[in-house]
């Protein structure tokens, strides 16, 4: 057999996926890309453990801890309780968690302002919609997804308060067929742009857009633009990979980052892809307006809502 385990002195990194697992084309995959970049650019040894259920998080993190990897990445807010407990028991080890805040000195917490990126997606959709009718398609109806939903809806209303935003949830991140069917329902219902924040099921919505003229879809998490060139207006990417790589680099340089990183538009950790296939369709004017909105968010003039309650209280800001 080949050698297993890090060489002496080699930086070793561990990662625990959430139940979505590798291959989700989204969140877990993105983190994995960051890890692979650390392997290639920093020469790190990497190891990934996948989880089948919430009950696997704890043993997986423990397992990596026991293998004495230099830093363990917990990918997903569901791991916060478990990570907190383990981190306290192992004050000499280093951990990072994505999408949640764990208040321990040896844990880096990385959260993203998904509502900011989603706001931009909503604004772009409202500008591009010819029917003044757009839609949001979520995976499961959970608080994290509602950050996307609220930001997107607010962004649309920032551009045009009269735009209709239909909201539907697949009820799963796996059921691609249901994603496609719901995509069709939304398009048939009059929406011409869908923001598909539904993991693998979102691929179904992209399919639905492909067969329609005048319809667009907005991808999520990873850059999905090439999956249907020209039909995917943009993807609201969340650069988990960037965060993972940065944290890993800090580790290698023996100055581990601690505390809470909130990554947003200004860090380029969240944002829209650069319209490779849709630039002309969107046009310069709209892109200018979009960057104005982006600057306003970064400057704090616009504070996108991150819950349905906040959305209800939210009012468009005159720029």
């Amino acid at each position: 057999g080949h050698h297993v385990g890090p060489r002496p002195g080699q930086l070793s990194l561990g990662m625990v996926t959430d139940v979505g697992g590798l291959g989700d084309r989204s969140f877990n995959d993105s983190a994995y890309r960051g890890l692979l970049r650390a392997r290639d650019q920093l020469g790190a040894y990497v190891e990934v453990l996948q989880s089948r259920s919430a009950a696997d998080y704890q043993p997986n993190i423990e397992a990596l801890t026991n293998q004495r990897v230099d830093m363990t990445f917990a990918i997903g807010f569901l791991m916060s309780t478990d990570l907190d407990q383990i981190a306290r028991n192992h004050p000499d080890r280093h951990y990072a968690i994505i999408d949640a805040v764990v208040d321990d000195p040896n844990v880096v917490s990385v959260t993203f302002r998904e509502q900011d990126g989603s706001f931009l997606a909503g604004a772009l959709a409202a500008m591009m919609s010819t029917t003044k009718h757009i839609a949001f398609l979520g995976g499961e109806d959970v608080p994290l997804l509602r950050k996307f939903e609220a930001g997107y809806t607010a962004g649309a209303h920032e551009v045009d308060p009269s735009v209709t935003v239909d909201v539907k949830y697949v009820g799963s991140f796996d059921d691609v067929a249901a994603g496609q069917e719901l995509g069709n329902v939304l398009y048939n219902g009059g929406a011409d742009i869908i923001f598909a924040a539904a993991g693998t099921a979102g691929l179904g919505a992209i399919n639905a857009a492909k067969s329609r003229s005048g319809a667009y879809v907005i991808g999520v998490d990873s850059d999905q633009d090439a999956l249907a060139p020209g039909k995917i207006l943009t993807s609201m990417v969340k650069h988990v990979d960037v965060a993972v790589f940065d944290v890993a680099r800090g580790m290698q340089q023996h100055r581990p980052i601690a505390g809470h990183l909130t990554l947003g538009l200004s860090d380029d950790a969240i944002g829209l892809t650069n319209f490779t296939f849709t630039r002309t369709a969107i046009g310069a004017a709209r892109l200018r307006r979009l960057s104005a909105i982006r600057r306003a968010i970064i400057a704090g003039k616009i504070v996108p809502p991150d819950t349905r309650e906040a959305l209800a209280a939210w009012k468009p800001v005159a720029l």
């Binding site: 109806d141 539907k168 796996d174 691609v176 067929a177 496609q180 048939n188 399919n207 067969s211």
Partner: protein
């Protein structure tokens, strides 16, 4: 409700029902011969994966559909061997097949496509999938006629009731059961292929999402008849479609409650309309 909405509702109903119809027809023929096919879900996954793999290899989704049928048939055959020749308890074998197929597809994604979770996109039947929908309904009618009008249908049903009686009549019940379960797998595989290269263009882990189990329920709701199972599958499709359309329109009902709609409807139907349904006498009993 506008006309457009009604059209969406009806087309979606049919679309939702089609893969379930295929699998439920398979379940019906298998149970009529006396073998409970708990493995429908796994066979659907096998069919869905097989179809995507063959399509990616040949670029032709029609070849994919055929491969999906064969993949399902293969696991149907495995269940048949286990349940008839090896005398394995049918439920055990079916449970094993589910684990095997769903895990096997995840594993095959890595070995064949070198990626986890989902396959690359492949060619798809596109609008030609309508022919598969037509086929589903045609098969339902054909199977009904087969079971109730032909000698072989009569023998198949008799085997499900009392295989010893059929043996006494000089027919080998085990061979007929093998064949029935293999066909059952082929139909489930076709259902899976319809999903992956008919409606979609991809295999992804968990994409069958319980449709095989729903098909099992449709078999029972349909009282072990092909047309009954088809009707039951359409009902499921209808309530699924209805919840898709109603979501977000009925503000006081959260999406989770909406998603439970087809299942709640099924439970209510259990209490109300269906009453006492009787399985074939020897259904599930090894011979």
């Amino acid at each position: 409700m506008t006309l457009a909405l009604l059209v969406t509702l009806l087309t979606l109903t049919v679309l939702k029902a089609t893969p379930i119809i295929f699998a439920a027809l398979g379940g019906t023929i298998s149970e009529r011969s006396g073998v409970v096919n708990i493995g429908l879900e796994g066979m659907m996954a096998a069919g869905a994966f097989g179809a995507v793999y063959a399509t990616s290899a040949t670029g032709n989704p029609v070849v994919g559909v055929i491969a999906g049928i064969l993949a399902g048939a293969f696991f149907g055959f495995v269940l048949g061997v286990a349940a008839t020749r090896l005398k394995v308890d049918q439920i055990v074998a079916g449970t094993g097949i589910n684990l095997l197929c769903i895990g096997g597809a995840a594993y095959a994604l890595v070995v064949l496509f070198h990626q986890q979770g989902s396959s690359p996109q492949v060619a798809s039947l596109g609008t030609a999938d309508v022919w598969l929908i037509v086929l589903a309904f045609a098969l339902a009618i054909a199977l009904h006629a087969f079971l109730w009008l032909t000698p072989w249908g009569l023998r198949l049903r008799a085997i499900g009731e009392n295989p010893r009686a059929v043996l006494a009549a000089g027919i080998d019940p085990l061979r007929v059961r093998m064949l029935a379960v293999t066909i059952s797998g082929a139909l489930a595989g076709l259902g899976g292929a319809f999903l992956s290269v008919g409606e979609l263009n991809i295999y992804s882990d968990g994409m069958t999402a319980g449709r095989g189990f729903i098909a099992l329920a449709a078999v029972i709701f349909g009282r072990w008849t092909p047309l009954g199972a088809t009707l039951a599958a359409l009902c499921f499709g209808f309530f699924e479609a209805l919840q898709f359309i109603l979501q977000g329109r009925v503000a006081w009902l959260p999406s989770d409650a909406m998603q439970a709609l087809p299942y709640v409807a099924a439970v209510i139907a259990l209490a109300g309309a269906t009453g006492r349904v009787r399985a074939p006498e020897s259904d599930g009993v090894p011979f």
